[in-house]
Amino acid sequence: MSAIQDPAIRSYFFGKGYSDLRAVIVDTWRRNLVSAQKELTAMRTLWPRSWGAKGLALVRGAAAASVLVFGTAFFLVASAAHVVILLTFFLLVYLLFSLIYLMERAYLTWKGFFPVCPDCHSKNSLAEYFCPKCGSVHRRLIPSSYGILHRTCTCGQELPTTFFLKRGELPAACPDCKRMLGGLIEVRKVFVPVFGGPAVGKSSFLLSLLRELTEHWAPPRGFMLKFPDSRVDSEVRRAWQSLAQGQPPAKTVTNLPRALNLQVDRSGQEGRLLYLYDPAGEAFSETEGLQLHTYQDYLSGLVFLIDPFSIAEVREIYGDRLPRVESALKPSQLPTEDAFARILIGMEEHFGLEKGARIKKPVAVVVNKIDAFGLEQRIGEPAVQARLRSAPAPADAEAIRNQIVREQLMRWGLSDLVHQLETRCAVVRYFACTSLGRMPDGTAQPLAGRGVLEPLLWILESSDSMFKAEKRKQAA
């Protein structure tokens, strides 16, 4: 099945069996010649003696002839039987490992469990696995002539050859860039890109979201979250530390990769690899397009971040106060409609979305920076709670939030955008958040986001069975 020579011990029926067969044939033939020679010598010695000895000489002579004639015939038949047995086992083993390999491929394809390198973004059907004992690299650790369910490394270590036997827990590297793939490799992947124009606060949103997720949401629910890449882990923690000291992440996150892998584990459940991506706000570069394309199969939903201060109507409303806080607020210069148009172009170019077709995955439209000018009171959680209290009948907070933000966007003159969003996206929900919690003012008061988690959770609950079940559990 594979031309690649791995440092493993090959099955007997795929090599050694045939050299053994050759050795048996050679050895048998040599032994027969020696035996025939011995019998002929005995015959020559006995013949000149008595009649009895002559009789024995006849026996030995006949034995010599028999060894040569019968021996040749017998060894031909026996060797043929040997070959048949070897080939039968060869075929049996071949069929078995092919069957298991195909089953595994089908299962992995169905589940979408493929290693995707967080560094070079290449998607491969198989990672390069390392023997945990000697560190030898096994490039094709699959059911093969090296073993059906397990193979033995040349160092003697037994390695699982299929996903079903937890091959994904072995140390592995990307076959293209050779970078180590930390964490879960053959698991379900959840890809959520965060789109938005430049300076809408995507990086702050992601950092606050990750913090909320790992520190507040996951622990009480029994989820274990970790960054498989230790470099990312330390960078993210450094950025969190800066936020805790009141410093916005503008400088700190420059070292952060825009793709963040978060491993989600829960005892007794299949893990997930949550891939959060923050594409450049300016435009989709060719490279980014290719990277996004890699994750096309795993797309679970999109977050579309809106900076309300990029909306002309809002700028007009707060025109008198805006210049004073402009440096802290950093309003995005790209109009929201243009940002959405770019998302659509990106989706069409890199996610296989047909022109004019609807995005079927859930789209969370998130109005950011609501901490400024009391926007939180109008579209944030206080507004939702106020509307809930005044509702004549018990209402759903999520639906109220959706309604409030949608109405506000329309009031801000974004009716066309709302219409376009609801035309081009099959499932849309509106949210409001503040990714820093307050405007950075140079003080050491911690910056902590609010409302950043809900959009992601909504996407996850809409697209992933594990999160869906968790939501049902919490509701019950």
């Binding site: 020579q5 791995d6 440092p7 493993a8 011990i9 090959r10 099955s11 007997y12 090599g15 050694k16 069996g17 053994d20 050795a23 048996v24 050895d27 048998t28 032994r31 027969n32 035996s35 019998e39 009789g55 006849l58 026996v59 030995r60 002579g61 006949a62 034995a63 010599a64 002839a65 028999s66 060894v67 019968f70 021996g71 017998f74 060894f75 026996a78 033995t152 040349t154």
Partner: protein
């Protein structure tokens, strides 16, 4: 050579020749003797043939045994169904 020594050295076929030539057996006797000799020769040939066939068969079986033993020993010494390194 004494008379007893000459009789002793005559042997079976010597005596037979002596009796034929001396006329002791007569014509009928000679015929009977030759018929008996022919029958005896036939049986002797058959017995010889059978003995040789038996000896040869034993030899062939012995050779077959040697062959099977050789094959068994070759199998035992060369078949190592453990896995080997590439």
């Amino acid at each position: 050579m004494s008379q007893s020594q000459g009789r002793q050295g005559r042997g079976f076929f010597g005596w037979l020749l002596f009796l034929i030539l001396s006329g002791h057996l007569g014509c009928f006797g000679i015929i009977v003797v030759f018929v008996l000799l022919a029958i005896a020769a036939y049986f002797a040939a058959v017995i010889g043939y059978v003995v040789i066939r038996i000896l040869l068969a034993i030899g062939v079986l012995f050779g077959a045994g040697i062959t099977i033993r050789n094959y068994g020993q070759a199998l035992y010494n060369n078949i190592k169904p453990e896995r080997v390194t590439p």
